[in-house]
């Protein structure tokens, strides 16, 4: 029925509804009420004239984009070249300091290593030929010779 009032029905459906309404008192009454209500809705006032809100919307968009760009900048700040250079310098300094301390506290590091390798070589003497253990023993032997030289 509302679609009939709005004139949205097809010609055939509209004819059928009109025929029915003529014959049915209850539907006739309902239709009259609907027409009145539909028409009365036209009394709802329209908004007062107002200036476009475009400047406010564009300002809001500008703030939004600036905020987004600010967040991205803050996230990328640790990756700035100056920060990366400082980080690399600290890491290099730590590496050299560690090497220096190691050479002071363990001056015979190479000897001790050779000794340890020899001890392990004894334990692993039963290794089958061409195995990884044998390869390790050969490499360890070469290292010992180089250290001795």
């Amino acid at each position: 029925m509302p679609q009939y009032v709005q004139g949205l029905l097809s010609a055939a459906d509209a004819c059928e509804t009109a025929d029915h309404v003529q014959a049915c008192a209850a539907c006739r009454e309902e239709l009259a009420g609907l027409k009145k209500t539909w028409s009365a809705l036209g009394e709802l006032p329209a908004p007062h004239a107002a200036a476009s809100m475009a400047p406010e919307v564009l300002q809001r968009i500008s703030d939004y984009e600036n905020k987004r760009a600010g967040t991205l900048r803050a996230w990328l700040a640790p990756f700035k070249p100056s920060f990366a250079g400082a980080t690399a310098a600290i890491m290099l300094a730590g590496f050299f300091a560690g090497a220096l301390i190691s050479s002071v506290y363990y001056p015979d590091n190479g000897q001790a290593q050779t000794g340890t390798d020899s001890a392990y070589a004894g334990i692993l003497s039963d290794a089958p030929p061409a195995s990884f253990v044998e390869l390790y023993q050969q490499t360890a032997g070469q290292n010992s010779q180089e250290n001795a030289l």
Partner: protein
């Protein structure tokens, strides 16, 4: 076409759908053009739904800001106005739900104010006729305000925006039969409330 939009040439000649593509590429000039075309319909619907000019202005801002931020999700296969009405309907419904928790937020204008503005400007009308019209407008407003939000929105979309049932159903994110039920129930309620005064 896209290049022309991006360089700001002849924006007014482009379709809404082409402008939306440009908005998705952060082209604010295209958004301004869309606002020029559709701001009034958003304001009209928001005002009739909330009964407040201030709320309507806020909603216009919210809706077009959403159009900008959600532009990438817009599919050009869909009619722009249907998509816009969907955003507007969602914002209006959320606004009313939010207002229930905050009754001080842009209360609806007193009916006398709304009607008086029209009564003063209506040409060729006696003072008595204007007052009667004002009173009738107030009764209609009260009746419309008393409807559940979705019924109210459905009726406004059909009565004032003249959408088809299919487009109105898309705006309310429901089926056409569900929309028919909303309209039927809403009109029944209005009919009962206004039957004495009409």
């Amino acid at each position: 076409m896209q290049t022309r939009i991006m360089t700001g040439e002849l924006l007014h000649e482009e379709t809404d759908e082409a402008l939306m593509k440009a908005v998705a590429g952060k082209h604010t000039g295209a958004l301004r053009e869309l606002m020029g075309r559709h701001e009034e319909r958003v304001r009209r619907l928001a005002f009739r739904f909330t009964g407040s000019d201030d709320a309507a202005c806020d909603l216009v801002q919210d809706v077009f800001f959403k159009v900008y931020t959600a532009a990438a999700s817009y599919s050009p296969q869909a009619k722009f106005t249907t998509w816009l009405y969907r955003i507007t309907a969602n914002h209006c419904l959320n606004y009313i739900r939010g207002s229930r928790n905050n009754p001080l937020r842009h209360p609806a204008q007193p009916f006398e104010d709304v009607g008086a503005a029209q009564a003063v400007h209506a040409p060729g009308e006696t003072q008595l006729a204007a007052l009667e019209k004002n009173e009738q407008a107030a009764q209609v407003r009260r009746a419309v305000d008393s409807l559940p939000e979705r019924q109210r929105m459905a009726i406004l979309l059909l009565r004032f925006e003249e959408l088809s049932y299919r487009d109105a159903a898309a705006a309310l994110d429901c089926s056409v039969s569900a929309l028919e039920a909303l309209v039927h129930r809403g009109l029944e309620t209005l009919n009962k409330q206004l039957s004495d005064s009409l």
